[in-house]
Symmetry: C2
Subunit: 126 residues, 2 copies
C-alpha cells in the first residue's frame, strides 16, 4: 500500500479532480488519511472539508457523487489525481460544471467562461 | 485585478498545471503573490519552490518552460489552473511527461503507467 506524504501538508493533501470523459479539471479538494481510505474502499470520492472540519462524501447532499475511474499519484506522493465520472454533470456548488469557470487574462481580470449545469437554489434549497 | 486568497494557504496556493493540447494533468505546484504576478507578466509559469524556498521559473534549468495558454481560477479564488504548452514535452523532473505517472488501484498499490520523455541524468547532469 502506497504511503502518501500527509505529514507534508499538515495531515491534508490536495486532490485534483478531472472528468475522465472530457479531461476537464473540475475542482481541487483536500484529503486526509481517512478520506483517502474511504475513497479507495467505496470507489467514490471522499474529502476532508476544511470549512466544516469533517469528512465529506462529495455528492452526499446534492447526489452529485464522483465515481472513481482512475487514481494517479504524483512523483512526491503529496498530490493525487482523481479521474472521475461526475454524476449530475457538475462538480461546483455554484452549479457550474467545473469550479474553474472563470478565465483570467494577462492583466489579471477574470471573465466567466464556464458552463452552468444546474441552479444551486434548486439542488441545495434557498 | 482579481485577488487570490493567498492568506488561506499561508501565502501559498496550489496551481494545477494541465497540458493545453492533450488535457493531461502534468503537475501541481505552489504560487505566492510574486510568482502569480511574474506568471501574468511573462506568460511563463512561475512558482514558489517549497523545498528551495525561492521563486522558481519552471524550466529555468532544464529549458522545459511552460508557456501559458490560459489561466482559470476556481470559485473560492484559492486555486488556479494553468493550461500550458509544455516545452520539451515533459513536466516532471523524473523525465516523465506528467508527475502523475503512477496509477493506484483499489488496494492502494501503485504501478507506473506514464510515459518517460527524457533521461534526467542528461538534462540535469548526474
Amino acid at each position: 500500500m502506497i504511503e502518501l506524504a500527509f505529514s507534508k501538508g499538515g495531515g491534508l493533501l490536495p486532490a485534483v479532480v478531472q472528468d475522465a470523459a472530457t479531461g476537464r479539471v473540475l475542482m481541487v479538494a483536500y484529503i486526509n488519511q481517512e478520506a483517502w481510505e474511504k475513497t479507495l474502499e467505496t470507489g467514490e470520492a471522499h474529502y476532508w472539508s476544511r470549512s466544516r472540519n469533517e469528512l465529506w462524501h462529495k455528492g452526499g447532499t446534492s447526489g452529485h457523487v464522483q465515481k472513481i475511474r482512475e487514481i494517479l499519484v504524483d512523483c512526491d506522493n503529496d498530490t493525487v489525481l482523481f479521474r472521475v465520472e461526475q454524476v449530475g454533470g457538475a462538480a461546483c456548488h455554484t452549479g457550474y460544471e467545473s469550479c474553474f469557470y472563470r478565465r483570467v487574462d494577462a492583466r489579471g481580470e477574470a471573465t466567466v467562461t464556464g458552463r452552468k449545469v444546474f441552479d444551486p437554489r434548486k439542488v441545495y434549497g434557498s
